[in-house]
Assembly symmetry: C2
């Protein structure tokens, strides 16, 4: 299938014409280059008859274009990233591009290596969820005129194309939703990090809590691994027994939180309300179903590809495009209106006041 491949020279020779002509015809530049219709037809006929396939390697070598987009994320197996990957692949394929991916494990070292390798392979563009500390390396790529679209998080104060969601308002909405439903001791569980999206989410939560005259309770997990995270969350919840609702800042913390709550025998929706930042298909099948902030995956991918195609087509890197998308708070049973608990004065008091 690959060894006896014809070259453009073979086609030209058989036709008694030049490689130039064949090249022009193959690349659709025939008209523009004033090739006669007769010749065009002859070339096209032979090409399809012999099922000639241009050697993409030679073409890439010659032009420097690889029709490849580098997709760099923390971990491809995370549903958010693989969901984005799905849509990116669809759009990219439609434009003749393919996706080269690698996971950074959110490590600066690994991220730098991937960036370098993909750069050496001459990917035409990058789509990156930026690992901590890789700002300068990415800066270099951007200044070398290769299109880069950041997503999920960005570099504050740094000029780049990006597609984000409105993290601050999304988190604030979630907090307000809990406040409106009668909760007052609302915790926010996030990770210890500099990543912009996590900081924005925390800020949104804090603003909403302050505005309501409540006291923020923020737990930052120094993420070392799943079991440590679960233990830390459990310990946190045990130490702060007044907490009546929790917002988890990302999907893996939601998972760890579910585990911690189960260990503590806390009944979700009864003992404690919860909201997950990031929706997962399964969350709606839980009993009780779990309220979540859903990111618009397809729309994020659409915007990323739109920017990329613009950059690749217009060959300009000026006027950075910054896109911020809204999220959808999927209200389910885990955050329903607060029931007065048994220990606290029940209806009697309410009636009496």
């Amino acid at each position: 299938m690959r060894e006896k491949r014809l070259s453009i020279t073979d086609i030209a020779r058989q036709l008694g014409t030049s490689t130039t002509t064949v090249s022009f015809v193959i690349n659709g530049k025939a008209r523009e280059k004033n090739i006669s219709q007769v010749l065009i037809d002859r070339v096209e006929h032979l090409v399809s008859e012999l099922n000639y396939q241009p050697n993409a390697l030679a073409k890439s070598f010659r032009t420097g274009k690889t029709m490849t987009i580098g997709f760099i994320v923390d971990e491809i197996s995370q549903p958010f990233f693989s969901g984005i990957a799905k849509y990116i692949d669809e759009k990219a394929s439609a434009h003749g591009y393919n996706i080269l991916f690698s996971s950074t494990k959110n490590s600066k070292k690994r991220g730098g290596e991937v960036l370098q390798v993909f750069n050496e392979r001459h990917v035409d563009a990058f789509i990156i969820a930026l690992p901590n500390g890789l700002e300068n390396e990415v800066r270099k790529v951007i200044s070398s005129e290769i299109p880069v679209v950041l997503f999920d998080r960005y570099i504050p104060g740094f000029e780049s194309d990006y597609v984000l969601i409105d993290n601050e308002n999304s988190a604030a909405d979630a907090a307000r939703h809990l406040i409106d439903n009668g909760y007052s001791e609302i915790a926010f569980v996030t990770i210890e990090t500099d990543q912009s999206q996590m900081l924005d989410r925390t800020r949104g939560y804090e603003k909403a809590i302050h505005t309501a005259g409540l006291k923020p309770i923020v737990k930052k997990i120094n993420y070392q691994g799943k079991s440590e995270s679960i233990a830390e969350i459990a310990e946190f919840l045990k130490q702060h027994s007044q907490i009546d609702a929790v917002v988890f800042s990302c999907n893996y913390l939601t998972m760890d939180g579910l585990d911690a709550m189960r260990q503590l025998n806390l009944k979700i929706g009864e003992d404690i309300a919860m909201v997950s930042f990031d929706d997962l298909e399964v969350l709606k099948y839980f009993v009780p179903s779990i309220t979540a902030i859903a990111q618009p995956l397809e729309e994020i991918a659409n915007q990323i590809m739109e920017i990329l195609m613009y950059r690749l087509t217009n060959n300009t890197n000026k006027n950075k495009i910054k896109t911020v998308l809204a999220t959808q708070l999927e209200i389910r049973d885990s955050s329903q209106f607060k029931k007065s608990s048994d220990e606290v004065q029940p209806e009697a008091l309410t009636v009496g006041k």
Copy 2:
């Protein structure tokens, strides 16, 4: 970062040596080619001083090797596939390979296109979860000596490397587990397909049911989309109210099944037991937690890469390697020992006998 790149000729010129020497040193063939240590040192010194990076495109063009592996699956966003992708990426990166992926949507047409495009891009090897009907195209690739490892399913009667799990016994185990726990009207919900893994799973279920002297109840969904699937499952369960346990043949059917059961107000673990073929992290957090057949993702990826590295290193395609791995039945609460239902004679009878 990319424009002012040095070439091997620049290095050679500055050193007053030849490109051959530089090439040999760079590619670690210096000793083998009897280059003097002095020269080796001089070359290496200048290379690192100037931070020379060989042009991967030129190298690929020249050698025909791209250090790229094509990873073709139904849908990258499915947890099973993105989980495999994670480990494949890890192992491949460690060997200097990168992963080009695309989803086929299990369409023969789309699968054929991806195969062709990846082939034109000269990927060094393929890892494929085969779409229905693409057998002949894959056959061509295999016979052209490009390493191909199939996984998840295979082509019965066709010689190829593959890594599978023991689908038949896994499904049989799940059925036996339900039988042992007192269930007798055990249904199997799968999709209408020719895919080997689904057929094997169905066969395993049927064998176990027959061996126990029970009657199989198989529902094959003609998968058109999520909502249709949910409706079909709900209708099926309603029509067969005698069913006391269900095995779902893959993770998306498990999801659809959960939705259907919720619609019918069936309490899992009480009204109906269930087992999921394919584990998902969340299944253990459900109340009740859901029993599942867990595939060894990392081990599958390991085996795939082992075969691939062997093929790529030894440059032989002979003696196909067929690997079948065991699964783990994660027993949780959704399939616990059957409680006698209220309509049926309760303890009194047991006591009386």
